[in-house]
């Protein structure tokens, strides 16, 4: 398998099967855990990714409030930041999270979809820097924010060019 094939397969996996459903975007079928929690990819281009997780009782962390567990937001923000890195204008084979910092500003509201908007704002030859916010209606009213770094696995030809 060539590097290009491998990259295309990973891109396809990150971007899902392309099957659209209720709520817009497409379920990320290529990534088993994302499929399991119904994570959707709405867009990923020019270093910016928009993802969501619809409310689901299986994702609740506190039965007394019905609020989604923080770990779900962690998974969403990690995937959103990774998708933003993969959507940067570079020939990447894959990427892996090095570190992820999340601040939780308020609980998600029961019954509502959580959106995440992530941006890869800087790339070096080996590291991608990304930030993201999770929110319901507007990124200006965040549920949580994230800062993350990713190690980049560049396609060999380009790595040699640098």
């Amino acid at each position: 398998m060539t590097d290009d094939d491998e990259r295309d397969r990973l891109r396809a996996a990150m971007q899902g099967s392309g099957i659209s459903g209720p709520g817009g975007g497409a379920v990320m079928e290529g990534i088993p855990f994302c499929r399991e929690i119904g994570m959707r990819l709405h867009s990923a281009k020019d270093s910016v990714a928009l993802l969501s997780v619809p409310y689901d009782e299986r994702l609740v962390g506190d039965p007394q409030t019905g609020v989604m567990q923080g770990g779900v937001i962690t998974a969403l923000l990690d995937t959103a930041c990774g998708s933003a890195v993969m959507a940067a204008p570079a020939r990447l084979r894959s990427t892996a999270t090095l570190d992820l910092r999340i601040d939780y500003m308020r609980p998600a509201q029961p019954g509502k979809t959580v959106m995440a908007r992530a941006e890869c704002y800087r790339m070096t030859r080996t590291i991608g820097f990304a930030r993201a916010v999770a929110y319901h209606d507007a990124p200006e009213d965040p549920i949580a924010s994230a800062a993350a770094t990713f190690i980049l696995d560049r396609v060999a030809a380009e790595a040699g060019d640098d």
Binding site: E6, R9, L10, A13, G30, I31, P32, F33, C34, R35, E36, I37, E57, R58, L59, V60, G61, D62, P63, Q64, T65, M68, Q69, G70, G71, V72, T74, A75, L76, D78, T79, G82, S94, A96, T97, L98, D99, L100, R101, I102, D103, Y104, P107
Partner: protein, 165 residues
């Protein structure tokens, strides 16, 4: 020796309380996390399952799953120390635990996760250390590993808001 039966009963009650506490969190069930206890220390276990995969080509466990696992371990260790204190206190507090009426879960304020190694398709373990539990906020460190305790796959430190007691 006459103490033994009552001691065994107390241990069984604690085990049952821990199972009830974990069962209240739906997301723990979705991931398949289980908790073992030795004294007041929990060991969280995450058996590998296909739905936890993030990179099907390696394959590797989703970083969000590992992050969730660390966060849940920290949260449960804090919640469990409250439950254990309630059991020890006896009376109404212990009865509430017996009924499964637990205090609200600690809420995550912030977490920082360092990913050290990729999570292979096998069972993961995690333990939390409560570095400080104040009146309102607790600071917790959590480590996750797979085959070797000395080779952690990920580490987390975080601050949690404690329920008003």
């Amino acid at each position: 020796m006459t103490e033994l039966p009552s001691q065994a009963r107390a241990e069984a009650e604690r085990d049952a309380a821990l199972v009830r506490l974990a069962e209240t969190v739906a997301y723990v069930r979705l991931l398949g996390v289980r908790f073992d206890r030795m004294g007041d220390e929990l060991t969280a276990r995450l058996p590998f399952a296909p739905h936890l995969v993030g990179n099907p080509f390696l394959p590797a466990i989703h970083g969000g799953v590992t992050g969730s696992f660390l966060e849940l371990t920290g949260m449960m260790q804090l919640a469990w120390s409250v439950v254990l204190a309630d059991i020890e206190r006896g009376g109404a507090a212990a009865e509430a635990v017996a009924r499964g009426a637990f205090a609200p879960m600690p809420k995550t304020i912030d977490i920082t996760i360092d990913y050290l190694r990729s999570g292979r398709p096998r069972e993961s373990f995690a333990r939390a250390r409560i570095q400080k539990a104040g009146r309102r906020v607790a600071h917790v460190h959590v480590e996750a590993w797979q085959d070797e305790r000395a080779r952690p796959i990920a580490m987390m430190r975080g601050n949690f808001l404690l329920p008003k007691g």
